[in-house]
């Protein structure tokens, strides 16, 4: 596929490396001339120096033939305009926008764009880590519609020794895997939860805090 990335310096470099490794053709637009020469030396990609929300620059970067565009500048207004130009003017089939201000996610979604908000994701993770010690890993997927949470079962946890079928878990949650010592188990109803198990729970975000409460020792 032919991919265009418009983004801040570090992000476009690492994202670029990943896409190139997967065999895609890559064009990068960056405002910073110095960083453009760095990218040109280190990536097998076409590098264009300029404003990625300028239709002329987008054309130079091959927007009329691209399959995917990633708008990942630090400015939401630029990312929005890039996505709109890509969709309405260049008719690029797929666009992904980085949204810096989480409040703007609704704006991008209203205009029909897929979004990723690092601020939101990191904020959520920090928030959860700060409030529950036993939670060691959190990952929102599917545009934040589902969370994967890893929870360590500590002593005092009310469901220790119980079989899964006896745990009153909300419908929108699922224990998908149990890490026990060096082993990973796919649990069934008769599986018993033990101390120091690390369980992987899939939940809808709106009931996540209810689910965390079930497993926390307080």
């Amino acid at each position: 596929m032919e991919i265009i990335i418009i983004g801040d310096d570090r992000l476009s470099y690492y994202l670029g490396k990943t896409f190139l490794a997967k065999g895609h053709r890559l064009n990068i637009i960056n405002r910073n001339a110095e960083h453009c020469s760095y990218l040109a030396k280190n990536l097998k990609a076409t590098i264009i120096n300029g404003d990625g929300s300028d239709p002329d620059i987008l054309y130079q970067a091959g927007a009329h033939t691209a399959d995917v565009i990633v708008a990942a500048t630090p400015y939401d207004q630029d990312n929005l305009v890039i996505c709109q130009l890509s969709k309405s003017y260049f008719e690029i089939p797929q666009s992904l926008a980085m949204v810096n201000d989480p409040d703007n996610i609704v704006v991008f979604e209203k205009f029909g764009f897929k979004t990723i908000s690092p601020t939101f994701i990191v904020g959520e993770i920090i928030d959860q880590l700060a409030s529950f010690d036993s939670i060691t890993h959190l990952l929102p997927i599917g545009e934040g519609k589902v969370n994967i949470t890893e929870i360590k079962l500590t002593s005092g946890c009310p469901i220790l020794g119980k079989q899964l079928k006896d745990i009153n878990l909300p419908e929108q949650a699922l224990i998908s895997c149990i890490f026990r010592k060096d082993d990973a188990l796919i649990p069934r109803g008769l599986t018993t939860l033990e101390l120091n198990d690390r369980i992987l729970v899939i939940t809808k975000p709106e009931i996540q805090s209810d689910v965390l409460r079930i497993f926390s020792a307080d």
């Binding site: 239709p55 400015y75 207004q77 929005l80 305009v81 201000d101 409040d103 704006v107």
Partner: protein, 137 residues
Amino acid sequence: MKEKLYIIIVGCGRLGSAMGNHLSLKGHSIVMIDLKSDAFHKLNTEFSGFKMEGDATEFSVLQQAKIEKADILMSLTDDDNINIMVAQIAQKFFGIKKVIARIVDPLKQTIYADLGLDTISPTLITQDFLQTWITKG
């Protein structure tokens, strides 16, 4: 049209402040929004509207400006993309009927005009004027 309109102007530069001064003098209720409070020095002493320091691409800033009550929103900053975003938020989220975005880039202006946004391009207006002026002989 109502006698007294509630108008939000985003960007208090040369154009924004001139419009703010003019419309305030006409008796309309004006809210000026700019990133920097320094910008409000361009408003004259007769200006009787509100001055808000803030980023108009943030929902909360527009809500503080009571955007839902606005009859008109004009986004006149020197950044095309900010104007495009603010005008579209006003149009699509708050249902403001009369919204305009200042867009300097003529190509972008054409594209967004096609998408149903009212736009004004200083470049095209100047170009029109010059073309007419030249043929006047």
